[in-house]
């Protein structure tokens, strides 16, 4: 049923947005997101996608347009990177609290300064607590598939929360991979038209974004927190149904060779594929090492993580952002929180790697595991720095 074609991941993402039949796309170009929005603007211009493409003057406006678009009941897509996300962040938080479903692809890139157009995860970590569902994608197929999954989850009446896909800038956005494309009929079966719970319409006026005085604000935040904490089963159901239709099943966490693994490496995003080669190299040397890849970042899969590392004595967490003055990288902080309630728990070593586009090779994972074994205690270290 599905055809596999060689395609740049950015183009595959844009084609998926077309197949998802988005109504409004508002975006401002920023490297390395550009190929996605350029291709979408071509599709709209050429009449292949019946949507409004709104080329705004900044990312702040892009997300503001998306807020209005979703509020009006349109299927809404945007895409940005790095500084663009920071500029739009005011509205990123607002749309989550307003419960306006939409899909955003974040082509992950480092933040100034120094100026860098290359990949790490410091942009998304700046909006970690913004109230969006957030996933990290490992390869082009996941990116293509999650455009449909993302719209479906975001617009689900049981969820109604915006959905953010993290895809590593250049490392994923600009590579050409074989992508299994779906027939339109399969997409249409999986992704029903968007039916908003509330929408801005003169026949049935509502107020969105009213102010919340101190006597109501806490109740508003509790309602948002409760709604977010109930999303997990609906995300899992959306993955399950996608798998039943396509044969491609996804989970909050993926494991690789974790059977009887005393050492577990944890990664997010495209690094997982490189790490798995490193795992194979170490397994050849009889090192009992496995890999856990965290796909779902928010809501964080605490129980699934505990299960995945239950046999481990040492966990080596790979972060691609720094939390200055914090507990190491943001991922390591979450992993430690997940493990803390357990009576016996593995030691957690934390490396911060791949900042600002620095390459990480399979051999680096071998070296980091050796160092983590040799160096006792809980610590974090920026790996591969020239002293």
């Amino acid at each position: 049923m599905a055809t596999r074609v060689g395609m740049e991941v950015s183009i595959a993402a844009a084609e998926a947005v077309k197949q998802a039949n988005a109504d409004i796309i508002a975006a401002y170009p920023i490297t390395p997101q550009t190929h996605i929005v350029e291709h979408l603007s071509e599709l709209v211009n050429d009449g292949e996608l019946d949507a409004e493409f709104i080329p705004v003057e900044s990312e702040h406006s892009a997300m503001s347009v998306c807020a209005g678009s979703s509020a009006a009941g349109a299927r809404t897509f945007t895409c940005t990177s790095s500084q663009g996300l920071i500029l739009m962040s005011e509205i990123v938080y607002a749309v989550a609290s307003l419960r306006l479903p939409m899909l955003m692809i974040l082509a992950n890139r480092s933040l100034n300064s120094p100026l860098s157009i290359w990949n790490d995860h410091s942009d998304v970590m700046s909006v970690r607590d913004c109230g969006w569902i957030q996933v990290f994608m490992e390869n082009g197929q996941e990116v293509y598939d999650h455009v449909f999954i993302g719209f479906r989850v975001a617009e689900d009446r049981n969820v109604i929360i915006p959905f953010m896909m993290n895809i590593d800038g250049f490392m994923l956005t600009h590579v050409i991979e074989p992508i299994g494309l779906l027939e339109q009929e399969v997409v249409d079966r999986y992704l029903p038209p968007f039916q908003p719970l509330y929408r801005l319409h003169p026949n049935n006026p509502v107020t969105m974004g009213a102010f919340g005085p101190p006597i109501l604000f806490t109740e508003a935040k509790k309602a948002q927190d409760e709604a977010f904490n109930k999303t997990m089963p609906h995300i899992i159901k959306a993955w399950q149904e996608f798998g039943d239709l396509t044969g491609r099943y996804y989970h909050p966490i993926e494991t690789y060779r974790t059977d009887e693994a005393k050492i577990v490496i944890i990664t997010q995003g495209s690094l997982g594929e490189t790490a798995s080669i490193g795992i194979d190299m170490m397994r050849e040397e009889k090192e009992p090492v496995g890999l856990v890849k965290i796909r779902l970042w928010r809501p964080f899969p605490f129980a699934e993580l505990r299960e995945a590392v239950k046999e481990a004595e040492l966990v080596v967490v790979m972060d691609r952002a720094i939390s200055y003055g914090g507990p190491g990288g943001p991922l390591a902080g979450e992993v430690r929180s997940a493990l803390y309630p357990q009576e016996s728990r593995p030691r957690v070593a934390n490396f911060i790697i791949g900042l600002g586009g620095r390459d990480v090779a399979p051999e680096d994972f071998v070296q980091m595991v050796q160092q983590a074994k040799a160096q006792p205690g809980e610590w974090y270290e920026i790996y591969g720095v020239r002293e």
Binding site: R99, I160, V206, M208, I215, L216, E219, A220, A223, A227
Partner: protein, 97 residues
């Protein structure tokens, strides 16, 4: 909303805290914000309507005879009417006086 604000629980709130009762801002008593109150001296009023035009909260009513009345349910006590009145017919006094 039927319940008083201090009895509303998080479960009572609409998704996204949407307000699906249009125009219910009219029940919100902004007069509570006031620290100064306008005092109106009819004998100085020339019925020009300047205060009515300037009031940012539409808290001034023009009566049938052309004189005015402050609606203290909404008046926030900003004092713009007193500032703009050409004859000094409106003065602001502290609420506690």
């Amino acid at each position: 909303m039927a319940k008083p604000e201090n009895e509303i629980t998080w479960r009572d709130l609409e998704v996204g805290i949407v307000v699906n009762e249009p125009g219910n801002a009219s029940v919100y008593c902004t007069g509570d914000w006031r620290s100064q109150r306008p005092v109106y001296a009819t004998e100085r009023c020339i019925k020009c309507g300047t205060c009515y035009i300037y009031c940012p909260d539409m808290a001034i009513k023009i009566l049938r005879d052309g004189y005015i009345e402050h609606d203290l349910y909404y008046c926030k006590g900003c004092g713009i009417c007193a500032q703009e009145c050409p004859t000094g017919a409106i003065t602001m006094v502290e609420e506690e006086e």
